[in-house]
């Protein structure tokens, strides 16, 4: 088979995390009884008018700047006209034009496996409103739920010709984009709930060919894995079609998660004419240079930049840095701990190890949230972890005891030093005291001591265990090693 290369254009829709809808005051939420979050405006009743949600405009502006986009002085809302039952007004308020969207001509850097980064060009970041949802009624027929109608939606489209050339890049683009949106606090990124929707446009062409192949659009991809698998599947499907002398048909295909294959949804017969024109009910948005600069200055450090910094300045591994920066609140927790004098590597190990495990077990969503949920919902504060690492460092408690203390402080919120004191967990580091215990253990297990001395050295661990048992794990492990050897040899 000839070599085919893949090209992927990404169209991402992100529902904005505003309190209310784009053009009315209905609340934004997921699920619930159909048509319970609607009003005359989002139902498109005759005579109603839109009033833009300023928070939504600001969120798109921030995203545009975070994605290194240009921002126009004036940005206009257009009407995209088409009939569909889930579209209350018979048009969707959206944004049209090359340099009219709130953001245009930007890029997003994605990490490559070899440690370098790749720049994915972005054509536009614009603001529009979501549609309702068609539902099949149990008794037959269809209904429309307009709860989602009018929810602010941000569309982010990559540039053409596409920079994304393999399924891993497609996935990584989405990972980075999602993290960025979470960092900015503009989207909750829940792909499974549809608040972040990704529709890749996929084509293949013979290696070296100049013109791009016919593309297919893939829908229903609700995980990173699905995006990756979908691109792989389409590459194979399209390559085989071309290899067999057939043509790729421009069509919209759906993704079947069970069979891990795509299926035909509809063929795009002709480009639909949406008859875009400026919405006369809305006045153009204006962005002053001062406003743009103020927003730019207020942008948080983005995940990839943070991760690079952690590796370079703090000596963390790419993996550790990646886990720490995947969530903004998680990274901020880490930075707060470092700021309080914690050792980067130690704090990182506790966070990505026991803390993450306990949070997940407790059903906390610290690793997927976009906000400071760690701070809000866990009793463990950065100071706890810093103190814990200091107690270990000073030899006050052993690593094993520290795990126990972590579990306690996770439940109670007490400081590790208090727990150590109240529960008497301080490490026994007095050589005489440890030696006394060791001698006692050897005495009590004279038979095993005999065998050990006869050359069965494997029994040493048994004696360590007995000492730890007697001291409830508090004996300094290094001291135990030393003292046990002494006790076994001298008796």
């Amino acid at each position: 088979m000839s070599e085919y290369v893949l090209s992927v254009g990404m169209e991402v829709h992100a529902e904005l995390r505003t309190e209310s809808k784009m053009f009315c005051r209905c609340p934004v939420a997921f699920g619930g009884m159909p048509n319970t979050r609607v009003c005359p405006v989002c139902l498109g009743l005759p005579g109603t008018l839109p009033v833009p949600n300023r928070a939504a405009v600001q969120m798109v502006l921030r995203t545009a700047l975070a994605l290194n986009c240009q921002v126009p002085a004036h940005s206009v809302f257009h009407r995209k006209n088409y009939f569909y039952p889930d579209l209350p007004k018979g048009y969707q308020v959206s944004q049209y034009g090359e340099t009219n969207p709130i953001g245009y001509y930007g890029y997003l850097e994605i990490p490559k496996l070899d440690g370098t980064t790749k720049r994915i060009k972005i054509r536009r970041v614009h603001l529009e409103e979501d549609t309702g949802k068609l539902l099949h009624l149990p008794g037959g027929g269809s209904g429309v739920d307009y709860n989602r109608a009018g929810v602010p939606l941000m569309e982010i489209v990559t540039d053409f010709p596409p920079d994304i050339e393999d399924p891993d890049e497609a996935k990584e683009y989405l990972v980075q984009l999602r993290q960025t949106l979470l960092y900015l606090g503009v989207c909750d990124g829940k792909m499974e709930e549809g608040s972040l929707r990704c529709e890749p446009n996929i084509s293949v062409r013979l290696a070296g060919a100049e013109t791009y192949g016919t593309k297919t659009e893939l829908k229903n991809l609700n995980s990173f894995r699905a995006v990756q698998l979908g691109c792989m599947f389409e590459k194979k499907r399209q390559s085989e079609l071309l290899e067999g002398g057939s043509k790729v048909v421009q069509e919209t295909r759906g993704w079947n998660e069970q069979t891990e294959s795509s299926f035909l949804m509809r063929v795009k017969e002709s480009e639909q004419d949406y008859r875009y024109f400026p919405d006369p009910d809305l006045i153009p948005m204006e962005f002053t240079p001062e406003q743009i600069e103020a927003e730019r200055a207020a942008l948080p450090e983005l995940p990839l930049a943070k991760s690079t910094r952690y590796q370079k300045d703090l000596g963390l591994s790419p993996y550790d840095a990646g886990v720490l920066t995947a969530d903004r609140a998680w990274a901020e927790f880490f930075e707060s701990a470092i700021g309080q004098g914690g050792d980067a590597k130690q704090v990182c190990n506790w966070m990505n190890g026991d803390f993450a495990k306990l949070l997940n077990e407790a059903g906390e969503t610290a690793l997927t949230s976009g906000e400071a949920t760690v701070g809000k919902t866990s009793k463990v504060r950065p100071g706890h972890i810093v103190e814990l690492t200091k107690l270990i460092e000073a030899g006050t408690i052993s690593g094993k005891i520290a795990k126990e203390v972590f579990g306690d402080m996770f439940t109670s919120g007490s400081m590790p030093s208090e727990l150590v004191k109240s529960k008497g967990l301080t490490q026994i580091s007095d050589p005489a005291e440890v030696l006394a215990v060791c001698e006692e253990v050897v005495r009590e297990n004279a038979g095993q001591a005999e065998q050990y001395r006869a050359g069965k050295e494997g029994l040493f661990g048994f004696f360590v265990g007995q000492v730890m048992k007697k001291t409830q794990g508090r004996a300094n492990p290094a001291l135990v090693q030393e003292s046990l050897k002494k006790a076994l040899e001298t008796q």
Partner: protein
């Protein structure tokens, strides 16, 4: 003299003086509507119960000394203004069963001002027309001669005031739909500056042109109603910040030294000779009163109708897309979703509405957009600039309101172009968002002729003042239709 003969200012005075109760006033108009509207067909829906309820609320305001300038004075509403719980049809079968669950901003304002709502008046379907003949229900009739049209599209609102079925009414004006029927029915009709009266709840036709406005028997009544309904509305993004119109100084103006521009394009051959002579005679009278007139040329006026018939239908084609039978109004069944929509829209929209949707859809199509819609917007900007230029020098631009007086019902059905040219004089004000008022200035063939005054954006108070002094300068009392 019966109560219904009193104008709004007189009624308000009587109500405040407790010479009459709000309930008596409303009942007088309701009973006149019941007995007389069969001749004029100005109402589509009469809301006797609601009007009486409103009257009681108004009386409570009056009794508590909280009455305003129009408290207790009833108003009729064009049936494209949404009324909570009261059928709002736009004179279209596609909204035959539609009852809005909310009030238009102006209706809220009327309630706050204590103006009882008598009912909903007839119009050309979706305000598309200039004669009220495009109503899907019935044509309305001109009180000056019931064989003639009252004009349109706010024909029902004009006829109701003229026939003394209501002292005041609200219309909407996209290309002249308040001012032209006011002219044909011999009353005053005012289109405020775009953005001074909220459009929230007005069923949209051409959103960038539409403006709700008052109609009354004289300038003072009309100004008081403008004051009651104007003001900033957070629900309308195009609402202006300092939108409130004050009627406090409407009577303070003088004609002395007032300068009027007379665009020669609006006194040309398109204007019926009788109408032109009537307006010219009025100009002579006003000159004697100290007003100054100067002929000017505003050449872009020639493109007004053409431009209008691209922009308004383009916006309408999109605005009317929501009438698909899914969420409100009747639904007709067809093949699948698109079949349902096609059947509903195909059968329930009238021919003029469908024509304009098609024209507008075409004008917005890929490949035609630049040549039509974009070009029309450029001409529109040019037209606005020409008018703005003349406002540097003149207090107002003056012309006839309508090129013709009222014409027979059915008389122009075979000449749709002529019917569209009727908006010739009124369209520029919508293009530039200018305030514009029509007031009676005499008769031609025993039928009313209207004079149109147009002023600069936000110059509403001054324009009303000027109109008031013109009304005084013409030196005659309000002329009732002879039939009354």
């Amino acid at each position: 003299m019966s109560l219904t003969q009193l104008n709004a200012t007189e009624l308000a005075r009587s109500l405040r003086a407790r010479e009459v109760s709000a309930r008596e006033v409303v009942d007088a108009f309701l009973s006149r509507i019941e007995s007389e509207d069969a001749h004029y067909k100005s109402f589509l829906t009469v809301d006797a119960e609601g009007a009486r309820r409103d009257a009681d609320a108004a009386q409570a305001l009056l009794d508590n000394g909280k009455g305003g300038p129009l408290t207790g004075v009833p108003v009729a509403l064009k049936d494209n203004i949404s009324t909570n719980g009261l059928r709002t049809t736009c004179a279209s079968k596609i909204l035959d069963t539609y009852v809005p669950p909310f009030d238009a901003h102006v209706v809220e304002r009327l309630h706050a001002a204590g103006c009882p709502v008598l009912g909903k008046t007839n119009l050309d379907e979706f305000a598309m027309g200039a004669s009220c003949e495009n109503s899907a229900y019935f044509p309305s009739r001109n009180p000056w001669d019931t064989d003639l049209v009252p004009g349109g599209s706010s024909g029902g609102s004009a006829a109701a005031v003229s026939a003394e079925l209501a002292p005041l009414s609200l219309g909407s004006d996209t290309g002249g739909s308040i001012r032209q029927p006011a002219s044909l029915c011999g009353i005053v009709g005012f289109k405020p500056t775009y953005g001074r009266v909220s459009r929230y709840g007005l069923v949209a036709f051409g959103s960038s042109l539409d403006q709700i406005g008052p109609m009354g028997r004289n300038v003072e009544d009309t100004a008081l109603l403008a004051e009651a309904i104007s003001g900033h509305d957070a629900m309308d993004s195009t609402s202006l910040p300092n939108a409130a119109i004050s009627a406090a100084e409407v009577k303070q103006g003088t004609l002395k030294g007032k300068k009027f521009a007379l665009p020669k394009e609006l006194f040309a051959d398109e204007i019926d000779a009788g109408v032109r002579e009537c307006v010219e005679l009025a100009i002579e009278t006003l000159t004697r009163e100290g007003a100054q007139f100067q002929e000017v040329s505003l050449p872009s006026i020639a493109y007004g109708v053409t431009t209008y018939y691209i922009i308004a239908p383009a916006e309408a084609s999109s605005n009317l897309a929501r009438f698909d039978g899914i969420r409100f109004g009747p639904r007709l069944e067809g093949e699948g979703h698109i079949g349902n929509v096609a059947e509903t829209r195909g059968k329930l929209f009238g021919p003029e509405v469908k024509l304009r949707i098609m024209v507008g859809t075409y004008a917005l199509s890929a490949g035609y957009y630049d040549a039509y819609y974009l070009r029309a917007q450029q001409v529109r900007a040019l037209m606005a600039a020409e008018f703005e230029q003349s406002f540097q020098e003149f207090d107002a631009v003056l012309s006839p309101t309508s090129p013709v007086v009222a014409f027979p019902i059915g008389g122009l059905v075979d000449d749709p172009m002529q019917l569209k040219l009727i908006d010739f004089c009124t369209i520029p004000a919508n293009m530039g968002g200018f305030p514009s008022i029509s007031l009676p200035c005499g008769l031609s063939n025993d039928l009313p002729v209207g004079m149109l005054l147009t002023g600069p954006v936000m110059g509403d108070e001054k324009l009303l003042q000027t109109a008031y002094s013109v009304e005084r300068g013409l030196g005659r009392d309000y002329r009732r239709p002879p039939i009354l």
